[in-house]
């Protein structure tokens, strides 16, 4: 009996191409400023047109300044990319959520928020964290620029069907444990390559109990386990979240859609290529210590010693990571001095994330030596947070309240963490130089990041 992933995949096969390849139909294509303009231009240069412009949505996010009051030209190199995106979207009749409009924001925050991604759809975007969108029960995956050009020109992609890997989080969450902690724990346990060639399905009672936004966070880091796709089965939580969103179906169509969506979840006897369970009793708040998301530990833990590594190669990787991160083997993670705190990115910049961080900060002030930023994931999130007064809590705590975009997650917009500075970030990659040349990144939940800003050091949010 089919898994949810296989069921959705089967529905989208235009034709089989042999040797395990299918020509897959795409219901949605998302574009952003870094590669969107170029891909559209390449379609035109080949004498073709975007096949299904009404299925394509573009939003600038990567290379836009997050400075308060920013405009398109605040970061001039990004302005060129945005210009190209604007021109090419206009020429091809593609909808653009331009800077400053209510729909603008990080592409993977905007798509669920606007009801663009729906259960059962296929969605591709030239960005690896497209897997985030699987949180509503869609098959959403990242592609490169050549594939993006091809997707735009034909509305299809030749793809090989991946295997399936189910991860069940069973039991209830201990206080202070967030979706971010759960997925970091899973990556630490299975490794950064465990999902290669696989589509992940997150299941189990702890996932069923999650809000839709938390499911998006969970799916966001699928690619950090190597999987292009991460999914959660749609249920009433999903339907309640999507109802009334601008691009979601309405009226009789909504009823028909919902009846269909109820048939999507994996059959009880579905066979997965790999199936693992994680008891929630094992999951504590996590923080990364190294330069791969798999180099992670409970926040109360210590940095491992290379002697504990499973192989000489891993020991060597750990040594290099510790050297880059400026950490000693065996040292306690808690209490490590922190210079920067970044709350944002498509992992953790939605309204619930901001509420969680603001609750920790309320009435308190960041440590004097810490630079702390909050970058909401979208204009919608920003407006909602301001309506709730969250921005006041951030500002009063000495945080900067900035404009939506990717910002310090990838440092492509002229903003970066300075060399040697240690940052606790709610984003998804702690790679060497990811947040800036020489920047040292520790990935954690919004609550942990906020608490660490207050203390000026890595701190257990439960303490």
């Amino acid at each position: 009996m089919p898994t949810m992933f296989d069921r959705i995949w089967d529905r989208h096969v235009v034709t089989t191409l042999g040797d395990g390849w299918d020509l897959l139909w795409l219901d949605r294509i998302l574009l952003h400023d870094l590669s969107g303009g170029r891909a559209l231009r390449e379609v035109a240069e080949r004498g073709l047109r975007v096949a299904e412009p009404s299925r394509v949505f573009a939003t600038p996010d990567h290379a836009v300044s997050s400075a308060p009051g920013r405009t398109a030209s605040t970061f001039p190199r990004g302005a060129q990319l945005l210009d190209s995106l604007r021109r090419n979207c206009a020429e091809q009749g593609v909808r653009l959520f331009d800077l400053g409009t209510r729909e603008n924001g990080i592409v993977h925050v905007v798509a669920p928020e606007q009801g663009i991604v729906l259960p059962g759809v296929t969605l591709a975007c030239g960005d690896s964290h497209t897997c985030t969108n699987g949180g509503v029960g869609a098959v959403a995956f990242g592609i490169g620029s050549s594939e993006l050009t091809q997707a735009l020109a034909t509305n299809c992609l030749p793809q090989r069907r991946p295997g399936t890997f189910r991860i069940r989080f069973e039991g209830s969450r201990a206080p202070g444990v967030t979706a971010k902690d759960m997925i970091l724990h899973a990556i630490g346990r299975f490794g950064a390559a465990a999902g290669t060639g696989m589509a992940l399905e997150f299941a189990g009672s702890a996932v069923r109990a999650m809000s839709l936004e938390e499911r998006l966070t969970l799916c966001n880091l699928s690619i950090e386990m190597g999987a292009r796709v991460g999914m959660v089965a749609p249920d009433n939580t999903t339907f309640q979240y999507l109802a009334g969103r601008p691009f979601a179906p309405t009226g009789a169509l909504w009823d028909r859609a919902m009846a269909d969506w109820r048939t999507l979840p994996s059959d009880p006897d579905a066979r997965f290529t790999r199936d693992e369970a994680i008891p929630m009793t094992e999951v504590a708040p996590q923080i990364t210590w190294g330069t791969s998301p798999e180099q992670v530990a409970p926040i109360t833990g210590t940095v491992p010693t290379p002697e504990q590594a499973r192989s000489p190669a891993e020991a060597e990787a750990w040594r290099a990571a510790l050297d880059y991160m400026g950490l000693q083997p065996g040292q306690k993670l808690e209490g490590t001095k922190v210079d920067w705190v970044f709350i944002g990115s498509c992992t953790n910049s939605r309204i619930e994330d901001l509420r969680a961080a603001a609750a920790v900060l309320a009435g308190r002030k960041r440590a004097g030596h810490v630079t702390a930023w909050v970058v909401p994931g979208s204009e919608e999130v920003k407006a909602q947070a301001e309506a709730e007064g969250l921005h006041r809590l951030f500002l009063d705590a000495g945080f900067e309240w900035r404009e939506p975009g990717c910002a310090l997650c990838v440092a492509a917009n002229g903003e970066s963490v300075p060399p040697g500075a240690r940052a606790v970030s709610t984003s998804n990659r702690n790679f060497v130089g990811r947040q800036g040349t020489g920047a040292r990144t520790h990935l954690a939940s919004p609550a942990t990041a906020a608490r660490s800003a207050l203390e000026g050091a890595i701190t257990d949010p439960r303490a």
Binding site: G78, T154, V432
Partner: protein, 199 residues
């Protein structure tokens, strides 16, 4: 796309696991520029010191391996970001083939779009080739025969997806192949529109 049949050179052993695409090409190099010149920026953070001069310690700056077309790598090479610039940068510095036990999925797909051959071999075979490599130890990767010929002459077979192999050998690109299915695509669209109009 640049066709690929075979290459020969000293295989450079860059054996760390999880070499991500942020390391292969920093994102800053991809903001506002085209494909050209990315070769200069490949591995920039490892290749250059903070004052902009070359770091002599970095493997690919060393005489034996400078400009080599073959890279030996560790597990999960090219993981992380979907940036195709990682492939353009590698090709820009002359790399035509990466041999690793496993690759990041998106990077792997991007390789085939551009004529960079990703070869999967077990780590012990890679270590064996690495130990024999250098100025006098040349490795050949022959896609037509599906073998890597180590510097000592040992022929190690590898598997490539037949569809991708053919496309690489002929330098064929996906768009034209897909457009051949225009009728099936149109039929699919109409059916999908009736069955699930909200999609």
């Amino acid at each position: 796309m640049t066709p690929f049949s075979s290459v020969t050179g000293p295989a450079a052993p860059l054996l760390a696991a999880n070499v991500d695409t942020d390391v292969i090409i920093p994102i800053q190099a991809l903001v506002g520029t085209g494909k050209d010149g990315l070769g200069e920026q490949a591995f920039a953070r490892l290749r250059y010191r903070s004052d902009g001069t070359e770091n002599p310690e970095f493997l690919l700056n060393q005489k034996s391996w400078r400009g080599t077309p073959i890279l030996l790598a560790g597990e999960n090479f090219g993981c992380g970001s979907s940036r195709e610039g990682a492939v353009w940068a590698l090709m820009g510095m002359g790399v035509r083939c990466v041999i690793a036990p496993s690759f990041g999925d998106i990077f792997h797909a991007n390789c085939f779009q551009n004529g960079l051959l990703p070869v999967r071999l077990p780590m012990d075979a890679i270590r064996r080739i690495a130990a024999l490599s250098g100025a006098n130890g040349l490795t050949t990767v022959d896609l037509e025969r599906g073998v890597v010929i180590a510097p000592d002459g040992e022929a190690i077979p590898f598997q490539v997806d037949p569809r991708k192999r053919e496309a690489l050998l002929e330098g064929l690109d996906d768009i034209s192949l897909t457009l051949r299915h225009a009728e099936a695509i149109a039929a699919f669209r109409d059916r999908a529109q009736t069955e699930r109009p909200w999609q």
